[in-house]
Symmetry: C2
Subunit: 253 residues, 2 copies
């Protein structure tokens, strides 16, 4: 029973999120039902490196699936792309992995991008891909504030109430904020994130960007460890899982 890694992108708009739910169609369900065609009709379990919420997109999500037959990875990729139609999911690569490899637990890094459209007019071309903030943001102040969150901390203040992680300790490796014309783009990297951590950090940094809070505030929220003190959870549509890192190079086909 060979184990495959899958590298794929999706538009999160029409899905209830990565994870299977009774309330609607998930990315996991579409992939598992597509994989069943390669598994003698039996629906296998597909496990992702990062479980994204409803509306969150992915450019470089990684998942694993074990199939009954020995298929070349190119075949797995092509067949999944055929059977996931017409849903906005595209498998970019597949690879045969050792039995002890885990998409989730072997990952040593996850990276996200969050896009804010910072202008008066609502988004037309980027509808569903950005958070629209009309008030002018000071991206330099947001970046400076973000640097106070780097390193290993108890991120309880930036954690969703529903977060199932055993420990609130996480090590934030990168949190950059930059202005690109009308956009303010936040890039975040860590070994792993808590549930809603990126969106809560973004919502908190935006308070600084609007001038409502000082640059030191996101750090003091962190130290308070109290979710009630942080800014709002930024909306999901601005968020994209851009990539997952593993210690070994994966031979994507």
């Amino acid at each position: 029973m060979p184990s495959y890694a899958l590298l794929f992108e999706y538009d999160g708009t029409p899905f209830v999120g990565w994870q299977r739910q009774a309330t609607g169609l998930s990315v996991q369900q579409v992939l598992e039902e597509a994989a069943a065609h390669l598994n003698g009709g039996e629906v296998p379990t597909v496990i992702a490196a990062g479980r994204t919420d409803a509306g969150v997109h992915a450019e470089g999500q990684v998942a694993q699936v074990t199939l009954a037959g020995d298929l070349p990875p190119e075949r797995v990729r092509e067949a999944l792309n055929f059977h996931t139609k017409p849903h906005p999911i595209a498998v970019l690569g597949a690879a045969v992995m050792p039995e002890d490899w885990s998409a989730r637990f072997s990952a040593i890094g996850r990276a996200y991008r969050f896009r804010i459209l910072n202008r008066r007019a609502r988004p037309a071309l980027d509808l569903g891909r950005v958070w629209h903030v009309q008030r002018r943001l000071d991206a330099a102040a947001m970046h400076e504030a973000a640097q106070g969150l780097l390193g290993k901390h108890d991120f309880s203040a930036y954690r969703a109430t529903a977060c199932q992680a055993k420990s609130p300790l996480r090590t934030l490796d990168r949190l950059d904020v930059a202005r690109l014309g009308d956009e303010v783009v936040i890039t975040a990297a860590a070994r792993a994130f808590l549930h809603h951590q990126v969106r809560n950090m973004v919502g908190t940094l935006v308070e600084v960007g609007m001038g409502r809070r000082p640059v030191s505030w996101p750090r003091s929220v962190l130290e308070g460890r109290d979710r009630g003190r942080a800014g709002q959870t930024a909306p999901p549509e601005g968020l994209v899982l851009t990539g997952v890192r593993y210690p070994e190079a994966i031979d994507w086909r």
Copy 2:
């Protein structure tokens, strides 16, 4: 009766194109019906700098409209953004213009971008925004071939049969082809373009990129002045009107 310039973006996917047509909803119709709310209910004519086809997008389209009342441009912008809802059109700016100014005839430059997604897997995140070409393209060869089209020429070979321009003479100022990861991006600039000119040039350059035709071919097609000899018309969804230039600086509000 003040004349206003409008700067706006739109997602071309749901429209029959810029121009009003009996067959469906156009960008022009949505804008004109929105402008009627500022014009005592009378539907004014909105004239665009570049009439885009169905499925073609715009990041920086410019148009003009004459309204009965004297309104500050900020008000025109905000009201149009309100009344164009929920259509994917966003007015980025408005300006009061002299009576002899024409969005179409005063323009001295138009710029387009065409995006090709060049990979095996179909697009998920960029569905409707790219032309999907699976076979690997040689972007450097395409760029070299494109340089043979620069300058003032009779572009009959790259013109749509339906093109209404009086003269097939156009001066192509820029036609760059560059690879950005999985994408091949073509940028084109000229004072004006013939109908389908960009898409026909892209379709022809792709033949070179696939190695089916030599680098010299697009130039020899140009010299043949015969539409039948050029490559296919690239699909509309990869094309975006990125901007329109005027001799004077416009004070967008």
